[in-house]
């Protein structure tokens, strides 16, 4: 409950004094205290449940799988709630309209970097990829810069980062974020250099007329906190079954697959493992929540980090449904080039990390 006094202090200084906001701060303060308390008890509770209540012998494989599941599920869900809330609040500052305003008029190189970074914090759903693409292109944002955004937005997302942090630690999460951003910047820049505008469907540039003005919502701090709660409800409400399923498979691998079994197939020694991981990963479509727990278990059993990263990035970052949606505005040649360049970037990351670690 250590965080509660600070929260109360923050409330007292808060700019809004209407009763609804004050109640909201209070409730969030209590929720934060509860969060900390829960986070502290999951490890002992998982052990207690596995060994005492279920009476499983700690030496058995079943016990190891069950303890893993009972510990990881609440841990990941708790982290997810906290981070999705935080990101939801941050995202209330970055509407697609504002991101477009920041990007318009930027030159290519700096624009690519900015677009990749904004891809992380701008709310994005692949079903909105087309209107977003059109909205960017309409105001004259270069194609390559727009594509940098479209690569980073799905690949470097908060759900992936939470799961990586929770299951692998901060180093892997940071590596994933760094390399994901690098791929988005470079691939977008290369695609821009290739001058592929001719492979964008013709009507896109013809209909460039109306960069309509939409009134911005005016939000105070309490509204932004409400946005965070909304994000938790929406995102965690959607991904929790995947977290459960992913960790269940991961727990099975954790308990039953012998150590080192995968070293031969997915280890560093096998040079072909990285391209194979990408080839399998690109057509596969799963969200980060389902894939990362499985990947963590693979890593533990001897798969190499680079191979595993490459697999994860190609599953999360390049998805078939998004390509089909983008087909409305991009000719197949451009989509193929886009996938090819991003996949090449992922390969480089895979080999690089197999070489370093």
């Amino acid at each position: 409950m250590s965080a509660t006094p600070q929260e109360v202090a923050a409330t007292a200084r808060g700019p809004e004094s209407d009763p609804r906001s004050v109640r909201l701060y209070g409730l969030l303060g209590i929720a934060l205290g509860l969060w900390v308390a829960l986070y502290l008890v999951i490890q002992p509770a998982a052990n207690l449940l596995t060994h005492r209540v279920l009476g499983l012998d700690p030496a058995t494989r079943l016990a190891s799988a069950v303890a893993f599941f009972l510990f990881e599920v609440p841990k990941v869900l708790l982290l997810l709630v906290l981070v999705v809330f935080g990101v939801g609040v941050v995202r209330s500052f970055f509407t697609p309209e504002r991101t477009r305003a920041i990007l318009s008029g930027k030159r290519e190189s700096a624009g690519n970097v900015l677009a990749a970074l904004l891809g992380v914090v701008t709310p994005f759903c692949s079903c909105s990829a087309v209107p977003l693409f059109l909205g960017f292109v309409e105001v004259g944002i270069p194609l390559g810069v727009t594509l940098s955004f479209l690569i980073s937005a799905p690949m470097v997302n908060e759900v992936a980062l939470v799961l990586l942090f929770g299951l692998f630690g901060w180093k892997v999460a940071a590596i994933y974020m760094g390399t994901g951003l690098a791929i988005a910047v470079l691939a977008g820049w290369i695609l821009g250099r290739l001058k592929l505008e001719r492979w964008v469907e013709g009507w896109v540039y013809e209909s460039m007329a109306s960069a309509g003005t939409i009134e911005e919502e005016r939000l105070n701090f309490a509204d932004r906190l409400r946005k965070g709660i909304e994000a938790v409800r929406e995102i965690v409400g959607k991904v929790w079954p995947y977290v459960l399923a992913g960790i269940a498979v991961g727990a099975g691998v954790h308990g039953y697959v012998p150590e080192g079994l995968l070293a031969g197939i997915m280890g560093k020694g096998a040079w072909w493992s990285v391209p194979l991981a990408v080839a399998i990963g690109v057509p596969m479509y799963s969200n980060a929540a389902g894939i990362i727990p499985v990947v963590q278990a693979l890593l533990e059993k001897g798969a190499a980090l680079g191979t595993v990263l490459a697999f994860m990035m190609s599953v999360i970052g390049l998805s078939l449904p998004e390509m089909i949606i983008l087909r409305k505005v991009l000719r197949p040649k451009l989509i193929a080039t886009f996938v090819g360049i991003v996949a090449a970037g992922i390969l480089v990351v895979g080999y690089l990390f197999n070489a370093i670690f």
């Binding site: 079903c127 059109l134 209909s207 909304e230």
Partner: protein, 77 residues
């Protein structure tokens, strides 16, 4: 009153359409919610995230599914 929902047919767009219909019904308004699914038409509204809710030609919400209650507040003057 003219109610339009802009969206290319994703699950969220369907929910927003249903919510708008419910809001109109509860207020006793005799209007049909129009679905705008053609991307070129959607772009004419200058919207970058779908689904979006348009009332009398004015964009009132983008990129989120409003609950029926919020739509009712917008509908009643």
């Amino acid at each position: 009153m003219r109610i339009q929902v802009l969206g290319t047919g994703c699950a969220k767009c369907k929910t927003l359409t249903a919510n708008a219909e419910q809001a109109a019904r509860e207020l006793g308004l005799d209007v049909k919610v129009e679905k705008v699914e053609d991307i070129k038409e959607i772009m004419k509204f200058g919207v970058m995230s779908t689904p979006a809710l348009v009332l009398d030609g004015k964009v009132r919400a983008t990129g989120k599914v409003l609950p029926p209650k919020a739509i009712k507040e917008m509908l009643s003057p």
